[in-house]
């Protein structure tokens, strides 16, 4: 499902001009990282995609829908949003009930709900915790509950807002597995993240935002190769890119293996 954002501007009631004539389009199955400093407009833009915010000028279409003509609840059947704070949504007595909330709201029959919940729990590694109270789980497990709750809605587009916050190495691995599975399934992913090391491993395209504008939009490796661009957004390049640069080999490896290959070539 294609996302089209056309010259969208948005100013908060406080007077902050958060988006200035932003335009972009995301093709079905594309994976995009949106990076930028705090206040750049990343979250503001993402919230326009599921209707939480309405553009003050410009247009947004999600597939064949004009986003402005649909409620957030309606758009939730097409755009899943995984918020940064998972604790701001957990309310059910069991993980299963929590994950079933979204599908039930979409009006699916109980068989379809059950199937989707089972699959989402498995994808998020929560099958063993299905009957437990979400608050009996650790904070990072609760993040995966919130993630499963959105996965269960089977939306063609999924937005992840700072998904790696608070996760340790095994948590990031688990998340990586889920993201990989989503990509295999052809889901469009929009990842808002400070973690450029994670982003470069999982997305194809990167958008850099600063002060309400998109200042760069292209293949992730190209965009992340520009230190000045990223510095504008108060970000440092991913570790492997910095290492390659330090060795005088200017390329953008996203994994250790890629780095080694480039390193070998560079040494010859």
């Amino acid at each position: 499902m294609r996302i089209i954002v056309e010259a969208v501007s948005y100013r908060y009631p406080s007077g902050v001009q958060a988006l200035q004539e932003v335009s972009l389009s995301i093709d079905p199955s594309e994976t995009v990282a949106i990076v930028g400093e705090n206040g750049a407009g990343k979250t503001t833009l993402a919230r326009h995609l599921n209707g939480l915010l309405r553009p003050q000028s410009g247009a947004i279409s999600i597939g064949d829908w004009d986003a402005r003509q649909h409620t957030v609840a309606q758009l939730s059947s097409r755009v899943g949003y995984v918020f940064q704070s998972s604790d701001d949504q957990l309310f059910a007595r069991s993980v299963r009930e929590e994950v079933a909330f979204g599908p039930k709201n979409l009006g699916w029959d109980s068989e379809r709900v059950r199937e989707s919940v089972d699959l989402a729990l498995e994808q998020a590694g929560l099958s063993g915790s299905a009957g437990r109270h979400p608050y009996d789980l650790s904070p990072s497990e609760r993040k995966f509950v919130a993630l499963a709750a959105t996965l269960a809605m089977r939306t063609p587009i999924v937005i992840l807002d700072e998904p790696t916050t608070g996760l340790d190495a095994s948590g990031v691995d688990r998340l990586s597995g889920i993201v990989w599975a989503l990509r295999q399934a052809g889901i469009s992913l929009v990842v808002i993240s400070h973690d450029l090391d994670f982003s470069i491993e999982h997305v194809e395209r990167a958008l850099v935002m600063t002060q309400g504008r998109i200042v760069a939009d292209g293949p992730v490796k190209e965009v992340f190769l520009e230190p000045d661009l990223l510095a504008q957004a108060q970000l440092r390049q991913p570790q492997l890119i910095r290492l390659a640069r330090g060795l005088g080999i200017p390329f953008a490896p996203s994994t250790v293996e890629e780095f080694i290959q480039g390193y070998r070539r560079g040494r010859r």
Partner: protein
């Protein structure tokens, strides 16, 4: 003070520089006066001759009038209507369609409104010209328990935080397909997914906040000092006692006269 919903308006004025307890004594005495003073007109006189000039001295007159109007007018209007229309017996002075407004009812409403006006405006004068944290420090210096003062002052800053949290929860649940528009039944069903996360996550926050306070020695017994110096003077101290002494005098006068 950017966030928070305190009424305080910062000004460079004599009223603001008065010790918080002086202003509190005035509000307390006027509260007693509201019930002790005779006749319907005395409270309006006090409002015009005491409170308005003080507000002007404090350079908060426009804000003061706005806050007073916002608080008192709704009461006043409904009082006048209800008492005027429903006063048993009585002599009608005006007609509203088939219903009539009675003079006795209007007089009663006038007197009650006067009392409300005096009480509300004297506390508003206090709130608009006094920083809540300084008022709390002043009370703490007189022995007011610190935990109580903490609760009062933080409420001012914490309410916007809860409003923000409630909004975040609403956004999250709407993004999971929760419809919030519609009939009563639908709205009731929407309550649980909105209220439970607020309560549960607040409990976690409260625990962390308690730890943070302990780490800042809040639980320590013994004298606490204050960064803020509350300017006071012998004259003000005398003034406070004089004002407070008025209260029983007024009570007696009200009973006798």
């Amino acid at each position: 003070m950017s966030q928070g919903f305190s009424l305080y308006l910062a000004r460079d004025s004599g009223l603001h520089r008065l010790h918080p307890l002086t202003k509190l004594s005035l509000a307390a005495t006027l509260l007693v006066a509201a019930f002790a003073l005779p006749g319907p007109w005395s409270s309006y006189a006090v409002f015009l001759l005491v409170l308005l000039p003080l507000a002007a001295w404090g350079k908060i007159l426009p804000g003061f009038l706005r806050s007073v109007a916002r608080s008192v007018l709704p009461f006043a209007i409904s009082l006048f209507l209800i008492q005027g229309l429903l006063w048993p017996g009585g002599s009608p002075v005006a007609w509203l369609g088939p219903l009539s407004l009675k003079a006795e009812g209007l007089a009663f409403a006038l007197a009650s409104t006067g009392r409300i006006l005096m009480i509300v405006s004297s506390f508003l004068l206090l709130a608009l010209s006094t920083r809540p944290d300084l008022l709390m420090i002043a009370l703490a210096q007189r022995g007011f328990p610190s935990t109580l003062s903490y609760i009062v002052v933080t409420t001012i800053q914490i309410v916007p935080y809860f409003q923000g949290k409630a909004r975040a929860i609403l956004d999250a649940q709407r993004s999971r397909g929760l419809e919030t528009e519609g009939g009563v039944r639908r709205r009731l069903r929407a309550l649980l997914p909105l209220v439970v996360p607020l309560v549960l996550s607040s409990i976690l926050d409260i625990e962390e906040r308690a730890i943070a306070l302990e780490a800042r020695a809040f639980g320590r017994r013994g004298t606490k000092t204050s960064l803020q110096v509350l300017p006071d003077s012998r004259a003000q101290s005398v003034l406070r006692w004089a004002i407070l002494a008025l209260a029983p005098l007024l009570l007696v006068a009200g009973l006798v006269l």
